[in-house]
């Protein structure tokens, strides 16, 4: 059955019609057309569809779209600034080799964001715990954990300039 919901999508308040049976993942990808959130399994086992609802990292494939009514939804598309400036976590993943095939990256980054929003000084064990539900087959997690560690302890949203070659680590 169709019904109207009101929610905040990546910072923008909006009102839209949804069907009761839609998962949040279906709603985001198929109805809204934002494909950064990935479906890796459809059953809450891989974390590729992780988004943030009212500050909590959730598997969008297990969450009904109707449940975001009155809440704030953040997807990977909402992280970087409009001018393309990356969020520090995104920048860190880029610079520390946290990304290979990239299919797990949006979900992984959202899990990291939810963690660091609550626990800015997260220790390695907390980081591992926070992304334990996000599977990655490429990296062995080493550089992902390093990417998150590199920004844990930073205050939220320091000024970050858009990524460019000049900023790349040129050392070994």
């Amino acid at each position: 059955m169709a019904k109207e919901i009101t929610f905040v999508f990546n910072g923008n308040p909006m009102k839209t019609m949804i069907e009761d049976h839609w998962t949040l993942l279906h709603f985001i990808r198929e109805e809204m057309g934002y494909t950064g959130t990935k479906e890796g399994c459809g059953s809450g086992e891989c974390g590729a569809c992780t988004v943030i609802v009212d500050g909590e990292a959730i598997n969008a494939c297990l969450y009904l779209a109707a449940e975001v009514n009155g809440k704030e939804l953040l997807t990977i598309e909402g992280l970087a600034a409009a001018d393309g400036t990356l969020h520090p976590i995104q920048k860190s993943f880029v610079e520390n080799g946290g990304i290979q095939c990239g299919f797990c990256s949006p979900g992984m980054i959202m899990s990291a964001k939810a963690l660091l929003d609550k626990t800015p000084n997260a220790a390695e064990e907390e980081i591992k715990e926070a992304i334990a539900g996000n599977l990655c087959r490429c990296t062995g997690y080493v550089q992902i954990i390093e990417s998150i560690k590199a920004v844990s302890g930073h205050e939220e949203e320091p000024h970050v300039v858009a990524f460019s070659t000049d900023e790349r680590d040129r050392g070994e």
């Binding site: 479906e39 086992e45 290979q100 095939c101 080493v142 550089q143 070994e172």
Partner: protein, 775 residues
Amino acid sequence: MQNLCSVGRRVPKLDAVDKATGRVKYIQDLKVPGMLYGKILYSKYAHAKIVKIDTSKAREIPGVLAVLTGEDVPEIRMGVYKDNRPLKTGKVCSYRDEVAAVAASTPEIAEEALKRIEVTYEALPAIFDPEEAMKEGATLIHDAHKSNVLKMPWKLHYGDVAAAKKEAAHVVSERFSTTWVTHCCMGTSGAIAEFDPANNLTIHSNTQIPSLAQKDFLEALKTMGLKERRVRVIKPCIGGGFGSKLDTYAYEYIAILLAFYTRRPVKVEFDRTEEFIATSTRQPTITYISQGCDKNGRLLFRDISMILDNGAYTSWGATTPSVMMMPITSLYRVPNVRYEAKCVYTNNTYAQAMRGYGNPQATFAIESTMDMLAESANIDPTEFRRLNANQSGDVSIQGLRITTCGLEQCMDSVKAHLEWNQPKKEGEGVGMASLIHVGGGARVYKSDGCGTIIKMDDFAKVDLFTGATDMGQGSDTVVAQIVAEELGLEVDDIHVIHSDTDVCPWDVGSHASRTTFVAGNAALGAARKLKARILELGAKQLEAPMEKLVLRDRHLIHQDDPEKKLEIGKLLRKAHFSHGGQMLMAEYFYDPANENMGKDFRGNMSMTYTFGSHGVRVKVDTETGKVKILQYVAAHDVGKAINPMLLEGQVYGGVMMGVGYALTEQVISEKGQNMNPNFRDYKILTAKDAVPIKAPVLETYDEDGPFGAKGIGEPGCVPTAPAIANAIYDAIGVRIKDLPITPERVLAAIREKQGLDLCGQEAGKDDDQECVIEE
């Protein structure tokens, strides 16, 4: 050594920003106007006659545009042996056999239609054990073949193994087994096929072999009566490869057939269950190995026979013995070697290429018995390896020319990092295993080549069209770094296009850890051509001799007088906008001078070989059988690290895949049926299982490699399992010879050693109940 600007740097992967922001498009994210959704109906039996398929009820559903069975379509043959068809006719030979396919306007309607297809089967006796299937009189999987043993040529004998056996002071003979594991790419398989009005095909597909896939699809079109048509293969961003995309598959042909019959674009996309069930695994093996050495510990012979469970059809898995031969004949110096492998049809799932291509299976048996042999000869296992280590300049008995070899240094590095000789705590142990792998291409096909086209615009920005396929490993970035280095540009100036057979030149595929070496050399060759022309133009402009000019920081610079310089873009504009103007473009096709193996399998299959040694410290809980990895060191001779950060990523990822192979991963197959097609029950490691890994890199500068580099895509997962098995033995004195090394297996081995049964009772004392522990 050259003073390098781009090569050797930890440059982020070119598409990392697009991936971090969710902007890249995988097959899951692609839609083509007018696109239909295809779904596949799989067999309900491991082996059965198809008596009848009634599709009438499926066709009645509004929104269904086509329902196809094997009887409705031309006889397209696929796979290495051409023993497989996209839709089966007559009978099914495994649970993953495709019996019908539907195209509908939505995935839900297609799914519903599958449920309405009625298939009548007549069950046939099925066979799941390859050793049973080899026996005389066993049920035949394919009626056209007189035996379940494939006619494959995997047999070699160098030297005289029988004589060496007599001479040997120490001999170890054992049986090892490995099981099905699967790639678990996070992005599932999928394809979108589309015909234009003239019946030229465009297919968007996850593939590691765009050029060979193009050829396969052209053949399929011919079978469909479409001759002289064009096929364009477009790769979306690929969500992981690891060998899984090295063949063409039923789902791709089914997308093509559905698109052809509906005259609409059709997408077939796997869900996770299908990804587990209907994609191919690593080849399971049974290995009988015998190795012997003289009283001083010099290896005298290696004698190996293997049985490979081929499954019901033949893909590249059946050719993995060609790569297994490399460690079997050439990991360490062995003067006498015999090897035979039989690939056997069963009603199980069929195997494919997977990272390492047979090498992990072979190395598990070799390196486990190396430790056993060292113990028998009473020599420290690392000294035993050093005694027999390959050296630069060796030509192995198979004819592999070892140009550079840092094996001994890798072993030293492992020992140092692990503090090998330090006293160990109760239940702790250390283990080592080494590897050889192709590092300079692998001539398994008629060509091992890769093409590159480079064009430069008026602002010295480069479009680089490469045949190489990036699945996340970073080949895009590596070729960009090489070209930037050669042309004195920034990596950001290089735009890499690797996604479309209409514009990219031929490449045999992203396999065999060959891309850095082969595609790197192809890119380097094209860049050198351009560099020569830039210097020629620049010499005129700066009125200086060419040999005095260098390209650096986007400028042409006079070596002796750095003030005398010209921006490369400016130079190019001058060349373009003048009378008889010219644009700078170059192409280069690099085909390494490696050799196809001869009749006796001798031949230098790769231009160079990557060596490495892994070491691990484990702790074994003798109460539960659980193995914990405390430290892992994976040292490799990589020639030259073009991009140390991406290289480490390959090693870390490979090692973790190898740790899964060693300890946790297995497709549980119950009479041919996959019982764990999900991530709850198929255990790939999570971040919480991440092991502390160090990846020391040794640079030996191979003269044939681009800037000295060798390949490193696969080695990370090659010696992982035997290193762990050796460490377990060191810790608690039990030798596990079957993968994965589950706690159940470790516990059973401990109990057996203690003379107890599986439940910890003294054998024969516990009469009331039978003791059974199910794995």
